[in-house]
Symmetry: C2
Amino acid sequence: MTTTSVRMLTIATEQFAEKGYAGTSMRDIASAAGTTQAAIYHHFPNKQALYEAALDQRFAATIPAILSGLAEITNPEQRLRELVQRVMVMADEDAQFRQLYLRELLEGNPASLATLADNIYGAMQDSIASLAKDLNNRADIHLLLFSIIGLICHHLEARELAMLLPGNVPDNRELATLSEHISQLLLSGIKGL
Amino acid sequence: MTTTSVRMLTIATEQFAEKGYAGTSMRDIASAAGTTQAAIYHHFPNKQALYEAALDQRFAATIPAILSGLAEITNPEQRLRELVQRVMVMADEDAQFRQLYLRELLEGNPASLATLADNIYGAMQDSIASLAKDLNNRADIHLLLFSIIGLICHHLEARELAMLLPGNVPDNRELATLSEHISQLLLSGIKGL
DNA sequence: GTCTATAGGACGATAGAC
DNA sequence: GTCTATCGTCCTATAGAC
């Protein structure tokens, strides 16, 4: 992995997250990376391969960072709050990550979905399993995983829409408010499963 | 609204939902509708206008249907279950609706988001407000709305990904299982807000 | 390893006949 | 109201010089 191809990957990630696969051209990526479109083909065989490499690089780096040190929080309720908080901060600051993930769910092909599954599952499996077990051992860890990620991503992604709903208070788009709402809903909700 | 333009809208909705705005060409729509690309411009000024009309038509029709008769269920817990059930069945059978919504959140411009806000808010406001009030009057109705929709859409959209996670049981992709998980999580969760 | 140039085709949109 | 034809521009991908 040369420094050039890493730079290309980084730029490609930005563009794909922002405009989607179909909405991003090789020219877009090349010009944002300060090179020509043809040069990319020296490093990646085609657009699809570049996309999958971008996806893989991005997910492999971020998910372990979120979970680092989490297991040391012994109180399970506090551990869930911390997990939600971390995922929220990451998914808020790093819109790339969130958007790549959501786009993958919408239009990912089996090959790139498998990349996603490896990265998510390999890293998060243990954390969620331990949470589910400590909070309520009847809960299914996969259903719980998707509930957590779904709540977080959707609340963050819907902020622009929320702004347009009459009666919506600005406070509802604050990270702290969203995080508190989601944590509370999950904490009480999981116990009742 | 002529029958021709309605047919064009219907086809356009399918294509946009499936492949996204950038991924759908006017030629795609025209050939699926059995006409030529130029003919569309007689009915709609440009691609963007066609997209917004498709969005509006689709949402204006579906959301009132989901809520019809819901208010007559007096038990609020049962009313929530029924709402979740109906949204799930619709969002499952009508992947178009779900995908259009999720794509809008990702890449909607302010104009088309406003269309969405009108359609969602105008129709669902009262139902959610009444649920929030009856179940727990401290709950914010907008936060609750996005939690419900977020859980449902994400679980449905993630089924293909779930299939790839080791240890996932096929039962977890059944509508009834998902519906039960989400209803339970929400019912207990809302009480704890 | 990056460039220019270009092939070959798809794109959105328009013009004008019928 | 729909067609054919076309403009100008974009696209992915390749060829070949340096």
